[in-house]
């Protein structure tokens, strides 16, 4: 794949039209007003049938899992997983991400955490009953999800420093702890809460368990949105848990016997999140480049358009190089998914590291190219530069990506 095909371009144009009509004119309100992004995202999903597609896919998945589980129960070998039917094209997910990020990367953050991270973590490790209970409404955005691992004293060292606990209490558990920087935290209906099983043992040896919580449960408090540098269309908040009582039905997988002490489950989720960041970066870069080309042609100084100055040309050329590289990473990812090959953890990390850095660099250079206007909120590059920065921090900081890549390269 070296360019979008006709159908993908049609999808892109249709999504672009929707965004130009429903989101672009209201960016100010989404960024700085009190309107959360969820209603317009739901409208986007319904308009393009993304909700019914997700529902159908989920139904087929559950039917297969049932058949497989029945076969195992009868002592037979389960059927092989059906190949993804011809129609599935991951670009149907990537293109809306790219297009939304041209205008509002925050919306993608809110959407991705809800239907990506939160739904995926239940859908990969949950029981069939748990999947049916929570996943469909997350995939369609009818319910908003949050995925909570980070704590005030536990970020990059997510598992090591984690303080959040689950303690057994009869057949149930009592959950305690505090989470922070949680996307959708203030409004989430469904929360995946990651904590350690406290059996009085050494915290380093405790199992990592994930529970599904619903908003409004006794002892669960969701903070107001935190003020932050960018991604204002994505509400970020804190969660406080004080003796929240849950049954085993809310423990993902309904078992404490989690592989690798629960430390591997989250890793799969990280890999998926990282490839999504490349698509986000592509949106930011493409928009910044388009805006910059236009400005370079029209802004006149010293009697000529600034695009005539070589120092400006160098900026544009570097932006184009970044765009090409990130686009190629996205194309590669799409092809891999279609071929049924998954990215290794290190590859996903490399993809995220490069794309996040490229997005931040391009957006800041766009601000520079726009001069004083670039620093003004009226010009779109100001917001995109603030938004881009977080791509280097969340879903694992740049430094964490580098560690993951190096670890893989130096493996004996």
């Amino acid at each position: 794949m070296f360019r979008w095909n006709d159908e993908q371009l049609m999808v892109r144009d249709a999504v672009r039209q929707f965004i130009d009509k429903e989101i672009r004119p209201h960016v100010e309100e989404f960024e700085h007003g009190d309107t959360p992004p969820y209603d317009v995202l739901r409208k986007l999903f319904a308009t393009f049938g993304m909700d019914s597609m997700a529902r159908d896919r989920f139904k087929r998945q559950i039917e297969f899992e049932r058949t497989a589980a029945d076969a195992v129960a009868r002592g037979e070998t389960p059927p092989e997983k059906p190949k993804r039917e011809g129609g599935f094209d991951p670009s149907m997910q990537m293109i809306p991400i790219i297009e939304l990020c041209r205008v509002s990367p925050g919306m993608v953050t809110a959407m991705g955490v809800s239907m990506g991270l939160t739904a995926a973590s239940i859908n990969s490790k949950g029981t069939i009953a748990q999947k049916e209970r929570w996943v469909p409404e997350l995939l369609t955005l009818e319910k908003i999800g949050a995925w909570a691992i980070t704590e005030p004293d536990s970020g990059s060292d997510a598992f090591g420093s984690m303080r959040a606990t689950a303690r057994r209490d009869g057949d149930e558990y009592l959950l305690n702890g505090q989470k922070t920087f949680i996307t959708n935290g203030p409004y989430a209906d469904t929360i995946v809460y990651i904590c350690k099983l406290d059996e009085g043992n050494d915290p380093a040896e405790r199992k990592i368990l994930s529970f599904v919580l619903d908003a409004g449960m006794e002892g669960l408090e969701q903070s107001k949105p935190l003020r932050k540098m960018g991604m204002h269309s994505s509400p970020t908040g804190m969660l406080f848990l004080n003796d929240v009582r849950v049954g085993r039905d809310r423990l993902i997988g309904e078992t404490e016997d989690v592989p690798a002490g629960g430390r591997s489950g989250a890793k799969d989720t990280f890999a998926m999140e990282r490839s999504g960041v490349a698509a986000m970066a592509l949106g930011v870069i493409s928009e910044c480049l388009d805006l910059s080309i236009d400005y370079a042609k029209n802004r006149v100084q010293f009697g000529q358009p600034i695009g005539q100055f070589q120092l400006i040309q160098e900026k544009l050329a570097r932006m184009e190089v970044a765009r090409l590289n990130v686009e190629n990473l996205v194309f590669r990812y799409i092809e891999m998914v279609q071929a049924g090959v998954s990215l290794s953890f290190a590859e996903a990390s490399a993809m995220k590291l490069y794309s996040a850095r490229a997005a931040t660099e391009v957006a800041l250079e766009a601000v520079q190219l726009f001069g004083g206007n670039g620093y003004m909120a009226e010009y779109r590059v100001e917001q995109l530069a603030r938004d881009a920065k977080v791509l280097q921090i969340y879903a694992g900081t740049d430094e964490q990506q580098i560690i993951a890549i190096a670890k893989d390269l130096l493996r004996e």
């Binding site: 006709d6 159908e7 049609m10 999808v11 249709a14 039209q17 929707f18 308009t47 393009f48 049938g49 993304m50 019914s52 597609m53 129609g87 094209d89 149907m92």
Partner: protein, 260 residues
Amino acid sequence: MNIVVCAKQIPDPAEPGELDPETKTLKRDGKLILDESDMYGVEMALQLADNAGGGEVTLVSMAPDNKVDGIRTGLAMGAAKAVLVSDPALAGTDALGTAKVLAAAVGKVEGADLVLTATESSDGYTGTVPEQLAELLGLPSVTFAKHIEIADGKVKVQRQTDAGYDEVECPLPCVVSVTAGVVEPRYPSFKGIMAAKSKPLDQLALADTGLEADQVGWAGGGQEIVGVEDAPEREAGEIIEDDGTGAEKIVAYLENLKLV
């Protein structure tokens, strides 16, 4: 309820158009998109078929070089199939020639209960094709529909007028031209976009329509574009300095033009 919708594919109005110096006509060699005017027809047809509890919406189009991008948009929105007539001999075809070709294409669609067009296209906008088409098909027609209902083998139409609208009825089958903005054309769903490519698309050449080359094209139109001139520059207006009698001078000026 089977409905045929005329779907004109035109050069994207957002791109700067260009004249072919040789033929002195608009260049149509780039990508063609579905004329926005016809999106209302497609939407209306989909809604009417839906309300009737089923039936197919078929698109018919005449366009150069077997261009299908605009038709694909209509198929992605939900039309079931399409008929496209394309032939080098059609270059230069005028509105009546177009109507002949479209009538032949409509004739290929079995069991059409209703034919919808826009009131005028966005690029040619002669606004004559719908009536010519009705005449050639031997069907009654209603123009400028802002609302359509189907009941008891008839269409009930609210027909836009300068003052408001008339309520008119017409037996099916018939040709109805619909005004812009009366329904909100849907976005094609992703599923619709992916399905569009595999929907039946009947591609016809002139010979398949039963028309002869001299009935269409430059020959059929009997017209020739002898020259293209730039519109004359606007002449500088008259500036009236207001020395206290400005209003009177303006009134006198307008009276002179018999405007007041």
